[in-house]
């Protein structure tokens, strides 16, 4: 592996801290200015080190940085042209109290930055700069590399420049970057005690690596676009294109500040503005910004009609670039060209390549025998299989609707609740991927039944927390079951059972297989049939519990009542009680109104006898679970 050393100059703009503790108050009446810089700092850049120079119309640090989301400051990159030379400025922008850390006082703007000369530009620098500027606060040494300068530091105006080592290979650098799932959004960088996503429950403090993957992929995707267009790393155009910000608030209409990519949070959603070629003039117009509303993703059987925007945009219609803004919020605001480009790269697996999501996909792929692949191909489902692999990405998980809107969900805007749940799913899937990859080496030692059931229930739990993801995960889940059954039929059946009992979309899947005659996975279809037949015929299911409970009993503990109770306890413990309530709700009067909007059928599902039977079984299980749950409470 070859590595290059790149020198970054440092600067700090803000107010000087009195004494020698970074957490202390500022020097009295000190005004914003350059408080520190490295030896040899380019003089031409001095005036550009003020954060107000990064923006058109400085809205104030409180109006700019989303402190809730980014308590340690926003991270941004801005190319600067000074005296004919191009530089890239990485900056950490933060509002701090003049009275000291945690103390009352006016807020002032702190900006610590690193400057990279054009000739040194490299994608790896992005992450290294972030590492340095947001290095963990070392309380023992009282030094925060990206923090303010202190009065007692005699070398603050003559600091040593930072030498960072980056891998020479762009490809490797890209993979490194994508693998860094902790970037920005992980728990390590957020103050977990104080900052929480709005939909985050108490126990759900898992990081959201998907954000990082998407962000890094997008950034690097933009860079690669340039490379693909024949622009090398040394091209000035590249630097000027790569500006981005993370953790800023959205700007008012028309108050664009030239960032090519902006990542921000508003209400329950994460927005990413990716203006594209034709939107430089107004990158923060919300109507031009891709937008995905959680409400649109509902798959809750409420019977509401599809949102109107879904009807206004037909799949495959090539939009004129400027027409995008006329569609209003809810529609992808980036140009159709950009969508297409992303779509293509998604299908080719480029965007998420190197990320652990695709690592999972690779694991799955590797775990399949040549015969498996051949059989899949034999069913003419190669493309579906490829899609499935790609769908292991966040974009794909939500991809159960029309192409444009799914792309907007996955790539550009992700409702924050979905991110949380999917993060959990993905974590579990990652484990599955590892397990699958180990299958051949450690056959039979993959995991025990309880472990797998736990895993299955956790995934189901996560799915049920955000039910709109169910549709998208259906095939993915099916694949997991499919693979799991190959490893251990009984345990795989446990997973399937949990899935079938918990997720009504299983029914729609079965319906689709049965009625359309075009199954996504022929083998899976056969497996499902065999599975049903096997249990229906061979298992002496206790009638009092209904067929589903009987299956559960068979899997977990035979017909032994104690084993069943233990199994149900697992269900209760691992399943969201809310979900159990939902299951019970299915049995009530509203059921006839439920429409499975993600199914290819528009008729009420209750019209289908198979669904009735299946839901009835699930409901009985749910009732049983609920009964036990009520007792334990």
């Amino acid at each position: 592996m070859t590595a290059d050393t790149i020198q970054l100059h440092r600067f700090t703009y803000g107010k000087l801290i009195a004494g020698n503790q970074q957490s202390g108050p500022i020097v009295s009446k000190y005004e914003h200015q350059l408080t520190g810089r490295s030896v040899g700092f380019p003089e031409d850049l001095t005036e550009f080190c003020q954060p107000t120079r990064f923006f058109r119309g400085w809205p104030g640090i409180n109006g700019l940085v989303d402190h809730d989301w980014a308590p340690r400051g926003a991270f941004l990159y801005r190319p600067v042209s000074a005296s004919g030379k191009l530089f890239g400025i990485f900056a950490r922008l933060q509002g701090r109290s003049e009275g000291g850390e945690g103390k009352a006082g006016r807020t002032y703007t702190h900006c610590s930055g690193l400057v990279c000369a054009l000739r040194n530009w490299h994608p790896g620098v992005v992450w290294r700069a972030y590492d340095i500027l947001f290095a963990s606060y070392d309380r023992s040494q009282e030094i925060d590399a990206g923090g303010p300068d202190v009065e007692d530091d005699p070398y603050r105006l003559n600091k040593a420049p930072v030498d960072v080592s980056v891998n020479k290979s762009w490809r490797t650098a890209r993979e490194d970057a994508t693998r860094r799932g902790s970037f920005l959004f992980s728990s390590g960088e957020r103050d977990r005690d104080q900052v929480r996503f709005l939909n985050e429950s108490d126990e759900r403090t898992t990081p959201c690596p998907d954000d990082a993957v998407v962000l890094s992929a997008m950034l690097l995707h933009g860079i690669e676009e340039d490379l693909a267009a024949g622009l090398g790393a040394a091209e000035p155009l590249h630097l000027s294109k790569a500006s981005f910000s993370v953790g800023l608030k959205p700007r008012a209409r028309g108050a664009g500040d030239g960032f090519r990519l902006q990542y921000w949070r508003e209400n329950r959603q994460i927005f990413v503005s990716f203006p594209g070629v034709l939107q430089r003039e107004d990158p923060y117009d919300l109507t031009r910004t891709s937008f995905y509303d959680t409400g649109d993703l509902r798959w809750d059987g409420s019977g509401e009609a599809d949102p109107p925007e879904a009807a206004t945009q037909t799949t495959g219609t090539e939009l004129a670039p400027r027409a995008a803004s006329e569609l209003g919020p809810g529609n992808p605001g980036v140009t159709w060209k950009a969508w297409k480009s992303f779509d293509q790269s998604l299908f080719e697996g480029n965007v998420l390549e190197g990320g652990f999501l695709s690592v999972l996909a690779q694991h799955v792929e590797r775990s399949l025998d040549a015969d498996d692949i051949a059989s899949i191909r034999a069913f003419g489902q190669e493309r579906a299989y490829r899609n499935l692999i790609n769908r292991t990405g966040m974009a794909g998980i939500a991809r159960f609707r029309d192409k444009q809107r799914i792309l907007s969900a996955g790539r550009v805007v992700t409702p924050i609740g979905q991110v949380n749940d999917i993060a959990a799913i993905v974590q579990d899937l990652g484990k599955v991927g590892e397990l699958l990859s180990l299958r051949k080496e450690h056959a039979g030692l993959v995991c025990d039944g309880a472990q797998f059931a736990m895993f299955a229930l956790r995934v189901v739990n996560a799915l049920c927390r955000f039910r709109s993801a169910i549709g998208g995960c259906r095939d993915l889940w099916a694949l997991i079951v499919f693979e799991a059954v190959k490893i251990d039929p009984a345990r795989g059946r446990a997973a399937l059972l949990a899935y079938a009992a918990a997720v009504p979309s299983y029914m729609s899947h079965r319906i689709r297989i049965a009625e359309t005659g075009t199954p996504s996975f022929g083998e899976l279809d056969r497996f499902l049939k065999d599975f049903d037949a096997h249990f229906d015929a061979a298992t002496p299911a206790p009638r009092v519990l209904g067929p589903f409970s009987g299956k559960m009993a068979a899997v977990f503990g035979g017909t032994d009542p104690q084993g069943l109770a233990a199994a149900i306890e697992i269900v209760v413990r691992e399943t969201d009680p809310l979900h159990v309530e939902r299951m019970i709700e299915f049995d009530r009067a509203n059921f006839s109104q439920i429409r499975l909007r993600s199914s290819p059928f528009s008729a009420p599902v209750s019209a289908r006898p198979s669904v009735k039977r299946a839901i009835g079984g699930a409901t009985r299980l749910g009732n049983e679970v609920w009964r036990i749950l009520s007792k334990t409470r």
Partner: protein, 365 residues
């Protein structure tokens, strides 16, 4: 660099120079300059409270001129709302300018029907509209913008603006802890430089900000004392003998200097000002301070007539001593009475003292 906001600002300066008078507001850090402006823009209904019921100056309101920069407006507007919610204000990082329309509404809008009719008949036709806008452009910046420690474009632009201003508002906070301040030296230095450049300067409004802090322990009598000219002058005289004396002597030097154009002389007036003001209907200084009790319970201070939510009261027992009941937004605004806020602005723009609460330098001798 065209993307740079400062360059755009300087363009605005040149285009607006010939049309409307320029005013610079200056003063040391934390003297309340930005908050004065933001409060001024948010209290259209209250500015007349301190204006003498003079026939010509009955009601006065300041509104942002539509050509102004929306971002700047939003920024200072946020400062006002932050204070109202007891959030920490933000230190001004760069200079900005804002265009005001001062709207004076004739007395005919008030009083009895007969009185309004009589006034309408007696007034000029131009007054029939009820509003007589006067425009000026105000430039505000950080206290250190005058400092040569930051020799950048910002500093130069600010100085250039200062030297082209027809009116200056000098903010001097009257809090004792601010008496000794190196920034006064800079202020003095700049004012002395100003003398040499034959500026178009005509009016200097010395805004003695945070005036309410001179009456911290007198309870409901605070407003009464602040508006008593004898008491107020005595208090200001006491300040004048302190480190303010240098600034006052410079001001004395400026007063009477012939203006660059015309036969008039530079005039100086002092205005006691309090942005926080006094609580309406009660008269006490509109400021509270809860001392720190531990690291978890830091000092709390701010506007007494701020918004207080029930949740906040439940969470902090100390607040309940000051706010027995929650205060909603409308109530907080109704009780917040800035004191003499509009007068220095109006004086700097027009040379008219729209308030009885002002002094000349001679009054302080």
């Amino acid at each position: 660099m065209t993307e740079d906001g400062k360059d755009e600002a300087s363009v605005d300066v040149s285009t607006s120079a010939d049309e409307v008078p320029r005013i610079t507001i200056m003063g040391p850090s934390q003297s309340g300059k930005t908050l004065m402006i933001s409060t001024l823009l948010n209290f259209q209904s209250l500015v007349e409270d301190v204006i003498e019921n003079d026939e010509e100056l009955d009601r006065l309101s300041f509104v942002r001129h539509e050509d102004g920069n929306r971002d700047d407006f939003d920024k200072i507007d946020r400062a006002f709302k932050g204070i109202l919610r007891a959030e920490q204000p933000e230190s001004t990082i760069d200079a900005y300018q804002i265009a005001f329309d001062m709207l004076t509404r004739a007395k005919k809008q008030q009083g009895s029907t007969l009185g309004r009719l009589r006034q309408t008949l007696l007034r000029r036709r131009s007054d029939m509209t009820g509003y007589d806008p006067t425009r000026f452009v105000l430039r505000d910046g950080p206290g250190g913008a005058l400092s040569e420690a930051t020799p950048d474009q910002e500093h130069k632009t600010y100085l250039e603006w200062l030297h082209q201003s027809e009116g200056i508002i000098v903010c001097l906070p009257v809090q004792e802890q601010d008496f000794i301040d190196e920034h006064f030296n800079r202020l003095e230095h700049e004012l002395q430089r100003l003398l040499k450049t034959k500026p178009p300067l005509r009016y200097i409004a010395v805004s003695l900000t945070k005036f309410d802090t001179l009456f911290p322990d007198v309870g409901a009598r605070a407003f009464q004392m602040a508006t008593d000219p004898y008491v107020a002058i005595e208090r200001v005289k006491r300040i004048k003998k302190g480190p303010f004396s240098d600034v006052f002597s410079v001001l004395r030097g400026l007063e009477g200097v012939p203006v660059a154009y015309g036969d008039e002389e530079i005039e100086v007036k002092l205005f006691p000002v309090s942005t926080y003001g006094f609580v309406a209907g009660r008269g006490s200084a509109n400021y509270y301070r809860v001392p720190a009790q531990s690291e978890d319970l830091p000092e709390k201070s701010g506007l007494m007539t701020r918004i207080v939510s029930k949740r906040e009261l439940d969470a902090d027992a100390r607040l309940r001593d000051h706010y027995p009941e929650p205060i909603i937004d409308a109530m907080a605004r109704r009780l917040w009475r800035p004191f003499n806020l509009v007068a220095p602005f109006y004086y700097a723009a027009t040379g008219q003292a729209a308030t009885p609460h002002c002094f000349t330098l001679d009054d302080l001798d």
